[in-house]
């Protein structure tokens, strides 16, 4: 269910990006996809690590991978649009 929701959100974000900036350069799409993957991965690490009772790994993973993904998304939305 989580992966499904993340996929739907990524698709909606992509649609929104295209709607806002249809002429955006191709490399911004690469950054956008990389950002989505990193954010999705951060959720996998966070919730998976909590299931393994490794809270430190959970939060560190969320910050590292989710933070990196957020930075990439910020670059796309600020610089690309």
């Amino acid at each position: 269910m989580r992966n499904y929701l993340l996929g739907v959100l990524s698709g909606l974000a992509g649609a929104m990006l295209y709607a806002v900036a249809p002429q955006i350069a191709w490399y911004f799409w690469v950054l956008f996809v990389a950002g989505c993957l990193l954010i999705a991965f951060s959720f996998d690490v966070f919730f998976g690590s909590l299931k393994e009772h490794q809270s430190r790994a959970a939060w560190l993973g969320l910050i590292m991978f989710g933070g990196s993904g957020a930075v990439l998304q910020a670059a796309v939305w600020v610089l690309g649009t």
């Binding site: 299931k51 490794q54 790994a57």
Partner: protein, 442 residues
């Protein structure tokens, strides 16, 4: 009906000392907790047959019960095997008997009177007598080695093993005084030596897993419970496997009685030898225990594996630096020389100070598996981060030191200390503390 058992509703007194648990945690939201059972009852209709006497159970049925004779049971069983009827073939029957191992050795064999209440149940529970198939006039089960190995693996997983590996006996890997002798047909002990017939050449290795949340609490009784749980899982699975193999009509023997099991498990592709001089499995890491069954059932065997552990252990040293007994080697390279006269030379490894390890455990009266639980390969599988790290460790050995540093940074491989130890009692863990799906390939 026993009059003393017929208690009227007025005599039932509510016991105010009964404390109820928090029922909300038991089921999802759509399951309601209620005060009385949903089946309508009427105590005035209550009566119980007296089943305390095995010799004379009271039969209240209006029609005589058809009790199958022993001959009918055998005929039914043999028909299923001879005609290859689905669900009644010899492997199916062998699995049934193997799955009944511990029930058989407790309830079934002690003459429990409950076995005679329902005629026919006693015969089924005691039908261990029906194997080996040769006793029924049948031949041992025959199949191509690949099919036999597939059946053996499937049975072993069902009977409690996490993974299975198959290899052949090696005369170099036998205890002193154990010899493979072409002149004997049965395992023979003449007081000086144990002689193994040549036909018994296949070794089935089973793997038990220690519950990771328990062994993370090493150096405590909880940690010791985790260590023992791994051994119990292994022991139960390979004892059941012995019954399974015998149910197929072949010989089966506990290899640990005559040989060390680690080299066989490594030869069977269940792992590589790590710095702690024990086997590390690429899926479960060091949190594993090994069982092995020697048999003459022809099997297709497995090959050893290489997942980059030798390179990784050169750089890691986490087990050695974590060992509370300081028993493990911190050498930069493995070596040939043993450090204890009881160790067997002939392999290049990090020979450990075994006596320090045993002495430390003895002094604390605790089983320790610190080295195995801190190993970076000892991980669960709830996040794909571990698989990515394992792939990196396996295929990019140059990243070894970085991966160990990241393992430390993420807090893995730390022995739980202080009040966090008791948090185990509040964790949501699978049955027996082990995810039985870990590592299964679909």
């Amino acid at each position: 009906m026993n009059q003393a058992d017929n208690v009227s509703p007025k005599q039932i007194v509510k016991d105010d000392s009964i404390v109820y648990r928090d029922q909300k945690k038991r089921y999802p939201w759509w399951v309601r907790s209620v005060d009385t059972i949903t089946t309508e009852t009427d105590d005035s209709r209550l009566s119980k047959p007296d089943d305390r006497s095995a010799a004379a159970p009271k039969d209240k049925q209006t029609q005589p019960r058809q009790k199958p004779s022993w001959e009918e049971i055998i005929e039914y069983t043999v028909k299923g095997i001879r005609e290859n009827i689905p669900g009644r073939t010899l492997p199916d029957l062998a699995l049934h008997y193997a799955a009944n191992t511990y029930m058989h050795y407790t309830i079934g064999s002690l003459g429990d009177p409950r076995m005679n209440v329902l005629p026919g149940i006693g015969e089924i529970q005691n039908s261990w007598k029906l194997h080996p198939p040769q006793s029924l006039g049948l031949t041992a089960w025959k199949a191509a080695p690949e099919k036999a190995s597939h059946i053996v693996e499937k049975a072993a997983i069902q009977l409690g093993s996490a993974m299975v590996g198959i290899t052949t006996i090696n005369p170099r890997w036998l205890n002193s005084g154990v010899i493979i002798d072409p002149g004997v047909n049965q395992i023979t002990n003449d007081g000086k030596s144990t002689l193994i017939p040549e036909r018994m050449k296949y070794v089935i290795c089973t793997l038990g897993v220690c519950p990771p949340d328990l062994v993370d609490r090493n150096l405590t009784e909880l940690g010791a419970a985790g260590d023992r749980a791994g051994y119990e899982m292994t022991f139960m699975s390979y004892i059941r496997m012995i019954r399974f193999i015998k149910g197929l009509g072949y010989d089966a023997f506990d290899l640990q009685v005559i040989a060390p099991v680690i080299p066989y498990a490594i030869s069977a592709g269940l792992g590589e030898l790590g710095r702690m001089n024990r086997m590390i499995n690429p899926i479960f890491g060091g949190n594993v225990r090994i069982g092995a069954v020697l048999t003459d059932l022809p099997l297709a065997v497995d090959k050893p594996i290489d997942f980059g552990l030798q390179e990784f252990c050169l750089k890691c040293k986490k087990c050695a630096t974590s060992c509370p007994a300081n028993a493990l080697s911190k050498a930069d390279q493995p070596y040939w020389e043993t450090v204890d006269p009881r160790q067997v030379p002939g392999k290049k490894t990090y020979f450990e100070n075994n006596r320090a390890c045993i002495a430390w455990q003895g002094n604390k009266d605790l089983y320790c598996s610190t080295c195995m639980s801190v190993c970076p390969w000892s991980k669960q599988d709830k996040t794909s981060l571990h698989e990515i790290a394992h792939i990196a460790a396996s295929k990019m050995p140059g990243l070894g030191k970085l991966l160990v540093k990241l393992d430390d940074l993420f807090g893995y491989g730390r022995i739980t200390k202080g009040t966090a130890i008791n948090e185990w009692w509040d964790l949501n863990n699978p049955t027996r503390g082990v995810n039985s799906n870990q590592g299964k390939r679909t």
